[in-house]
Symmetry: C2
Subunit: 356 residues, 2 copies
Amino acid sequence: EKQPCMPTHPQKPLIIKTGVQFTTKVRLLVKLPEVDYQLKVKTTFDKSRQFFILTNNTKVMDIEDYSNGCLSVEFRHLGLLSVTEELHSLSFEACFTVQGLTIDLETCSLPLVVISNVSQLPGGWASVMWYNLLTDEPRNLAFFGNPPRATWSQLSEVLSWQFSTFAGQGLNKDQLSMLGEKLLGQHASCSDYQVSWSKFSKENIPGKPFSFWMWLDSILELIKKHLLPVWNENYIMGFVSKETERTLLKDREPGTFLLRFSESHLGGITFTWVEHKDNGEVKFNSVEPYTKNRLSALPFADIIRDYKVISDGVVPENPLKFLYPDIPKDEAFGRLYNCQPIHPYIPSHLIPISVQ
Amino acid sequence: EKQPCMPTHPQKPLIIKTGVQFTTKVRLLVKLPEVDYQLKVKTTFDKSRQFFILTNNTKVMDIEDYSNGCLSVEFRHLGLLSVTEELHSLSFEACFTVQGLTIDLETCSLPLVVISNVSQLPGGWASVMWYNLLTDEPRNLAFFGNPPRATWSQLSEVLSWQFSTFAGQGLNKDQLSMLGEKLLGQHASCSDYQVSWSKFSKENIPGKPFSFWMWLDSILELIKKHLLPVWNENYIMGFVSKETERTLLKDREPGTFLLRFSESHLGGITFTWVEHKDNGEVKFNSVEPYTKNRLSALPFADIIRDYKVISDGVVPENPLKFLYPDIPKDEAFGRLYNCQPIHPYIPSHLIPISVQ
DNA sequence: ACAGTTTCCCGTAAATGC
DNA sequence: TGCATTTACGGGAAACTG
């Protein structure tokens, strides 16, 4: 009778932040005989933290834990979901009478995530994606008590869709296969290999202090805020392993470069260029990744235009000549350069330099 | 019996921002015979906009205004004070009984300014300063209906005190005299020349889109956030007219520079250095002022260390040699330079460059 | 149309809770 | 103690309002 509906968050539906207003719409899909009948709709919000006891969480009583004089084992935080996994829902109730017949209506929203700080938005959005990717149930609030796995083919489609939706340009085969390998190792070639929820957004990437999704989302944010034109021109290869990067660059003209996202820092982009030494040796150079702070001081296209390497006392030179495979730099980025403002002072801008 | 007291705002007392918590303390200065008598204190806030009819605001009925069929003249916003001139006050009431004697107590805070956004903080602080500089009345809420003038000697003391309080280092005679000239023209030499409230913080500086105080406060903020060590070493001359600047620099060693605040932009600092051309001509160069955005990308001391001018194809050179009058640059700023972080990448930092 | 003012809310930092 | 979560609020921008 009514439709489950969604509160709107700018760009990220189904996520509600405390202290921030949201909107929701309820439509009655039945045409009533009386036209100006006023229907009161009551809205209620389930507001209770949810606890799930996970069945496979067994512990053994151990002599080690002999703290308060008896054998004991503590089950702490048992199955307590993190805020962003906790699903809530808005319910709507209404009651009306037509021709002596009283009808109760009730419906509810799709599961919602409630956060208290925007820092929780990436986690919340991961939950919304996972839920909507893997179930059609309208209101399974216990979903993250035991979340199902996704196949890589399902997940990769969602990831690409994130980029096309939020950044305008999706991910190509090569980019996705780098992501698959990062997430799954060698199994990525098999598209029905399965990814767990935990691997996707809870566990840290080995050796890194962030999960796969946190990393990927930080890149999405970087693109949205600082790289949109460059990204949409497809000039950012972005997701390339260092090995592939070298394979691609090694036979290229000296000064050929490509743009890739940092794998060690959140929300960073770097460029790597190839150089041919006098002895015939091929050398690869990368700059320290640019993050949102640095990109807000100087737009990325201008960094590429102005980048210089100063070897002591020698005329500084911009080593970036051709965007991989062989597009002359200014031909690719020319339109994206920002004009220098004119001032009564000597125009001074920040030029990104590497000192060797 | 009680003391007028003040809510505390970080660093800026007597200013309250809507939606932001504040604290106030009321002390009873009478010692009561019963020790654990509980005294209830009721707090009330005057919350009404205040309107003042300024007497000298006359208008003439004019045929021009013949819009609704009769001669009319509109008195709009008549004497309505701006929010930051509107003074409020917190009142405290209490009543207690000792030995059959009932005593009513009442006191109130010094006048308060209520703002709704930090962007109003400078204006609010100007009001607090002016009030406390020019009256001892504890509660003259109509003060800005007709605010008195300040002598330059009073005002300059307050201004210097702003710098010593918020930035650690006050203003010297030369700096103050530049400020006085800026505010008063040639009259500044006469220390009992009077400054109006309007000239101080309401009217724009001729040809500029901001008032004297807005300009000065933007510099205070810049110092607080980005220039504290340099300021406290007294390395920033800061308030120097361009004429004086040239007089000071022209006979100095080439490469002698000084640091001054921009007079055309809010919250900007620039450096000017002197250069001796081959033909004996003396040339002065200034960079486009650095503002908080640029200074947060690269600290000011590092800018001075790394600043380079590139004349096409020539080895870039740092033209800054001696801080006025004759301190070798690195001797002055050496301790203030920031270390470069070490990275697996080529360390790239933003270098401020002028291209000629 | 516009300027003064308030509201909105992201994002950082600090506080709190477990 | 450390980690997860919330609170606090500055600051930029949009919305409001006379």
